[in-house]
């Protein structure tokens, strides 16, 4: 008994991730936390996407289920779970059955190495970024099998488009990632790292987000990645595999109910996953903004108040909406619910001001806030852009992003090695 307690508490003092520390009890807890957190994030994303898109399009979005449609995602999830699960007679049932699980598995597994904080990750691998890229590209397998197993024309075209698109954009994506990894080696020892945590720590040590490093090389690499990641996740304006107006729903046309919702879940968690890569590689991961300009303990304290303030702001929004709810008795339960939700948010906010909670949550907060920024961008793109055509998409991928990525890689290498190259030349001249 004593040894178990010791085993568990031993981790609490460690400054490693549970996976790296070999503490499986804590690793399991972290896995559960990430899984639950991710599911909640997807549910929130569902509501937020519908609301934000609606407001961009001069409409209200969901308003009926719960106050301001807050319970809509739950209602949707229930509906999907209760729906009949149809497997077309002509479909290859086994493959049809497996395909969504491959996609979901790939989308969730990548979160093993996502660093929410210096110790807040399930594990830290020395090949973290490779693992992420590798596993997330497995999703294309699920999509292709889904399209093939449906035994129908639209899903087949959707799947083919999707595989071509994901494979070609992975090349450009990889080049951008390599250029960021090269930047991690710009230290005195010249040792780079592929570990997700290591990459963020490299940015901490170099006092610079890789977004601004070797200006403008960092920004260009980031831009390539930001474009490629939208294509990689099949979102607008690169949503050809599921182009509604052309292929009805693309590779998941024949799917319904729970299996369809798995694709939905996978799409959103893949969006969060690639955004996490972008945040980790270029935007300093869990590091707070303005570490150089606004440094010092006072600013540290100010920035550590942000999580609590955010929740208090959300609570204030809830209370404001509560005050604006119609006074009709019909809305009494909704009004009370919204106020209750506000109280919960306010309580969370107040807890987050408490010292120990504040320091533990701050990393996770900044990481999530940056990822949330990317999520907003995804929605914004969807509200703004028309859809690319397939050949144009390929043109952008192979003729624009790939050469830019290659040139960028060479330039980053030259700039990173400039002192060595200069000294080589001087030696040569001598």
């Amino acid at each position: 008994m004593h040894s178990i307690v010791e085993y568990i508490t031993s981790y609490l003092q460690s400054n490693q991730t549970p996976g790296a520390a070999g503490n499986f009890a804590w690793a399991t807890i972290y896995i559960l936390l990430v899984f639950v957190g991710l599911s909640i994030a997807v549910i929130c994303m569902n509501w937020l996407e519908r609301k934000i898109l609606a407001h961009m399009q001069v409409r209200l979005g969901p308003m009926r289920v719960g106050p301001h449609g807050l319970l809509q995602p739950i209602a949707d999830a229930l509906k999907l779970l209760l729906k009949e699960d149809i497997i077309p007679a002509e479909a290859d049932a086994t493959v049809f059955w497996i395909a969504p699980f491959i996609v979901v598995l790939a989308a969730f597994t990548v979160f093993v190495v996502v660093p929410f904080g210096p110790t807040h990750a399930i594990t830290d691998m020395n090949i973290g970024i490779l693992f992420m890229l590798g596993v997330s590209s497995l999703a294309v397998l699920g999509i292709v099998t889904a399209g093939w197993a449906s035994n129908s024309h639209y899903p087949l075209i959707g799947a083919l488009r999707s595989s071509a698109q994901m494979v070609s954009y992975e090349v450009a994506m990889g080049l951008a990632v390599v250029s960021a990894i090269m930047m991690t080696s710009a230290n005195a020892e010249g040792t780079g790292t592929l570990s997700m945590i290591g990459i963020v720590q490299a940015q901490l040590e170099q006092h610079e987000w890789f977004l601004f490093k070797y200006f403008p090389l960092g920004i260009v690499a980031f831009a390539i990645f930001a474009i490629a990641m939208v294509a990689e996740t099949n979102r607008a304006p690169f949503d050809l595999p599921e182009a509604e107006s052309e292929l009805t729903a693309g590779f998941h046309t024949e799917y319904s109910g729970f299996r369809w919702s798995l694709f939905f879940l996978a799409e959103y968690s893949a969006m969060i996953a690639v955004s996490s890569i972008a945040v980790t590689l270029w935007m300093g991961g869990w590091l707070r903004p303005f570490p150089n300009a606004l440094s010092g303990p006072t600013w540290d304290l100010v920035f550590s108040l942000f999580p609590g303030l955010t929740f208090l702001f959300l609570a204030a929004l809830c209370f404001y909406s509560t005050a604006r709810m119609p006074k009709h008795p019909l809305f009494r339960i909704q009004t009370m619910g919204l106020a209750g939700f506000g109280v919960v948010l306010a309580l969370i906010g107040l807890i987050l001001f408490w010292g120990p909670a504040r320091t533990r949550i701050e990393d996770i907060y900044w990481f999530s806030a940056k990822v949330a920024g990317f999520m907003y961008l995804y929605i914004w793109y969807r509200g703004t852009f028309p859809r690319y055509r397939f050949d144009q998409l390929m043109k952008v991928g192979w003729k624009v992003l790939l050469p830019t990525g290659l040139a960028l890689l060479i330039l980053t290498a030259i700039v990173g090695m400039r002192t060595e190259i200069l000294s080589m030349f001087q030696e040569g001249l001598r």
Binding site: A243, E244, G383, P386
Partner: protein
């Protein structure tokens, strides 16, 4: 295998044979498909994503409008024409009323004609707005749809105030108008013109210089002016191909000759030019409306027409410039109260013929764009 280019249209008999050819894929698009604007069914023969040929299958919305006309009096048939192109019902009504008026040799009084022009041009804007929203949606831009529907609502409100109906208005009667313009009609129309001008700029802001929009529309679905004339294609599609043909100018009806407006034309005959032509047309329509509201005369709104209409034996063809192209009515009278035959020349139906020509060697995504840019309404295609 036959060279696809020499095939006049997709041959169903060879479908069996070509299906086994692994390079080709026969896809059935519609009648239930989000982007075929109703119940159009297109059978596509694809090589990968390239379109080798296509055939339109129509008739899913056939209601026998022309046959119905033979069993109704001239007055009774009037509301039926609204159901053909239901997004431009006012234009349909104008064409029919003017055709019968021509048969009866009466002319609507000037006040009626001015109000007719105002309502028809408002309807043209509404139709173009609906086209823009759905066309942009087909190409993947979902937001313009909601903007255009928001602004189209204002036009429908004016219709509703004028005659009680929003969509199938039945706004005109043979010989003039049933209703006098309501109090504040001119003010409403003026307000609308002021309201919608910046809104059209707003649509353009979202699309006209959008890189993806340009790539998706430039050089897509190109059709030459010669081909347009050969196929009988009219309306904005013809004008975008560089042919300056607008029946409002060429064969003035109503009192369009009193108004000062321009006919926009394109050069390339591609989807982008058609988009630009329609955008300018909306602005020109506003110009006409403003002139009409300013010059609206006083006077009667109904010409002297008999209660029981018995047009003399004979036939008449009258065409107007509907939002989608030349809308013609060919009416044969045998001297009785009912027309002997009514034949409608619907612009959508004739324009749809060009789909095959415009889509050859393009990609699947372009088929959607071209169907959208042809601006077809299946109610009018099938009648």
């Amino acid at each position: 295998m036959t060279d696809p280019k020499t095939l006049s249209s997709f041959d169903l008999d060879t479908a069996e044979k070509t299906y086994l050819d692994a390079n080709e894929l026969v896809i059935n698009m519609g009648p239930q498909h989000p982007a075929t604007h109703g119940v159009l069914r297109v059978i596509l023969r694809l090589d990968g994503e390239k379109v080798l040929g296509l055939e339109c299958v129509i008739g899913y919305l056939h209601r026998g409008v022309e046959k119905i006309a033979e069993n109704r009096t001239y007055t009774m048939f009037n509301p039926y024409v609204d159901r053909m192109d239901y997004v431009a019902a006012v234009s349909n009504g104008l064409g029919y009323c003017e055709a019968v008026e021509k048969l009866l040799s009466v002319e609507a009084p000037p006040r009626a004609q001015y109000i007719r022009v105002i309502l028809t041009e408002l309807n043209r804007i509404a139709s173009h707005q609906l086209w823009l929203g759905t066309h942009a949606l087909d190409i993947g831009a979902i937001t313009p749809l909601f903007y255009t529907f928001r602004d189209r609502e204002e036009i429908l409100k004016i219709f509703e105030k004028y005659c009680g109906a929003r969509l199938t208005t039945h706004a005109f009667r043979i010989g003039g108008l049933q209703y006098e313009a309501y109090d504040g009609f001119e003010e409403d129309v003026r307000k609308f013109c002021k309201f919608v001008k910046p809104k059209i700029d707003e649509y353009e802001e979202l699309l006209t210089t959008n890189r993806i929009w340009l790539e998706r529309t430039k050089g897509v679905g190109v059709i030459s002016g010669k081909d347009c004339i050969a196929l009988g294609v009219t309306g904005p599609v013809l004008r975008a191909s560089g042919v300056k043909w607008d029946i409002r100018k060429a064969l003035p009806y109503a009192n369009y000759k009193n108004f000062d407006f321009e006919i926009p034309t394109g050069q390339n005959g591609d989807t982008y030019d058609r988009y630009i032509v329609r955008m300018i047309e909306m602005r020109q329509s506003l110009r006409i409306i403003e002139q009409a509201v300013a010059g609206i005369p006083e006077g009667p709104i109904m010409a002297k027409v008999p209660k029981v209409m018995k047009p003399p034996v004979g036939e008449v063809y009258h065409s107007i410039e509907a939002p989608k192209g030349e809308l013609g009515y060919f009416i044969v009278s045998d001297g009785s109260t009912q027309p002997y035959r009514v034949r409608v020349r619907p612009p959508s139906f004739v324009n749809l013929q060009a789909l095959d020509l415009m889509c050859r060697d393009q990609l699947v995504a372009d088929v959607i764009a071209v169907i959208g840019t042809l601006d077809i309404v299946l109610g009018e295609v099938d009648r």
